[in-house]
Amino acid sequence: MAVKEEVIEILNTIIGEDISDQMDEDFFDNGLLDSMATVELLLDLESKFDIQAPVSEFDRNEWNTPNKVVAKVESLIG
């Protein structure tokens, strides 16, 4: 549970609005996240969870909704 909340908190800070009610919305489609924000997200996740998330692992089809990000982080934590 903790992972999910922490990811939401990171996303909220980067996007600048509360996304907890749109966990399955594609944030690239609706323009909430751009390349710049994506890098911020990767860096924040790296430092928060101590995981390796290099840019080339970032496949936009696998990271495009808050829920998918949570799943990715959980799988990277192992």
């Binding site: 751009d34 390349s35 710049m36 994506t38 890098v39 911020e40 990767l42 860096l43 390796q52 290099p54 840019v55 080339s56 692992e57 970032f58």
Partner: protein, 401 residues
């Protein structure tokens, strides 16, 4: 000797499609006939670099040996260690042949460009460089010498893209689409071929070969009288800009269609770019595989580096510098001419302004509706057309020749 340039004339399509029939039949019945595909690809590549283009043929063989050794060597090294300097050096070696060719053209070192240059060198360099970057990240772990060659020399897109990614390509080439899926790919391929014919052989033919020479002649005459300015520049701008789209989008459709027939889902290169509401959106719809290549391998990595090392505090400054850097590199890649570099700078500055506007809109809740959307599309279209006038190099002819 016979020489066949890709998608250049109707004959080419007849040869190509006939040659692909056995492959398509195989795929329909759930089998990928690898050896046949390799032979067909090699024959068509051979015919591309045959006859008067034989020197390009030698150049591509040399280039492939170079990249093959480099990517193989770097993968071996990366298994043992991960020094940043070695990575930068390997990247430099990967782009070196392209850099030499790009520099030798304006410097008139014709013997160098004849020795090393060939049609498609840029697009092959993008593929191998991306592999080195992904190997550094640990996303590509092993070197498969055979798949490397098939990826680099994938025939439909060898000369001008779309630029595929190794891991995506690997998935496609090592599997067979289901019959249902393959049939839908064939349907799309037929549609793309016909749309491509319309774009390239009809629309682009009129724009580029029938009208443009006239407009150009009028413009040059008028500009001589009026110190470099003429109203003819306006029709020239739209004609050359639209021609750029229909010519390249047409070519890209052929490449994607051919690749679908071969059971490979090469990514699309254009997505109605002139309906973009701003410049940022335009770059998500125009020459997509190139723009995404720059986004993923230059822009994002550059931003990642700056932010990780905390070189620049401000988020806005970071993205502004990255935009300009990214687009300038793209400008230089097009060639060492002032108008290509100016084109890159134009788009870099354009993206900076675009971002500032998006921030302003968010902050002040600027209203938007279908009318403002329409205005946005018109403005974006004209800004893009202006950049294509620059890109065309016509101003260079008009002012400096």
């Amino acid at each position: 000797m016979l020489n066949l340039q890709p998608y250049a004339d109707p004959q080419y399509f007849v040869y190509l499609l006939l040659a692909l029939v056995p492959l398509a039949v195989g795929l329909y019945f759930g089998k990928r006939i690898d050896w046949y595909e390799v032979i067909v690809s090699l024959v068509f590549i051979f015919l591309m670099f045959n006859g008067k283009k034989y020197h390009e043929g030698y150049a591509i063989i040399g280039f492939m040996i170079w990249q093959w050794l480099l990517v193989w060597g770097y993968t071996l090294y990366r298994k043992k260690s991960n020094n940043a300097l070695v990575f930068y050096f390997a990247t430099l070696l990967a782009i070196l042949p392209l850099v030499i060719v790009k520099v030798s053209a304006p410097a008139h070192w014709t013997h160098v460009s004849t020795l090393l240059g060939f049609l498609g060198i840029s697009y092959l360099t993008f593929r191998s460089t991306a592999m080195i970057l992904e190997t550094r990240d640990g996303s590509i772990k092993t070197f498969n010498p055979w798949l490397f060659l098939r990826f680099m020399l994938f025939m439909p897109s060898i000369s001008s893209g779309p630029i595929d990614r190794y891991r995506r390509f690997e998935k496609d080439i090592t599997s067979v689409p289901s019959r249902e899926k393959y049939v839908s790919m064939l349907e799309k391929a037929v549609w793309y071929f016909f749309l491509g014919f319309l774009y390239k052989f009809i629309i682009s033919h009129y724009l580029g070969e029938v009208w443009l020479p006239y407009i150009q002649a009028f413009a040059i005459d008028a500009a001589q009288v009026h110190h470099g300015w003429t109203w003819w520049l306006i029709p020239y701008m739209y004609t050359t800009g639209l021609n750029l789209f229909f010519d390249f989008a047409g070519y890209s459709l052929f490449a994607v269609a051919t690749s679908y027939v071969m059971g490979i889902e090469l990514p699309m290169n254009f997505d109605k770019p002139f309906l973009s509401k701003n410049l940022k959106e335009f770059w998500n719809r125009w020459h997509i595989t190139l723009s995404f290549w720059f986004r993923d391998y230059i822009f994002m990595r550059f931003v990642f580096l700056i932010m990780k090392k905390k070189w620049i505090k401000s988020r806005v400054t970071t993205s502004n510098i990255a935009y300009i850097f990214n687009m300038l590199v793209m400008g230089f890649w097009h060639g060492l001419h002032w108008y290509y570099i100016a084109y890159g700078l134009f788009h870099g500055v354009g993206l900076v302004i675009n971002d500032a506007w998006i921030r302003y809109k968010k902050k002040h809740n600027v209203p938007h509706n279908k009318w403002t959307d329409a205005i946005a599309i018109v403005i974006t279209f004209n800004v893009v057309m202006l950049s294509f006038l620059l890109f065309s190099g016509f101003l260079d002819t008009l002012w400096f020749k």
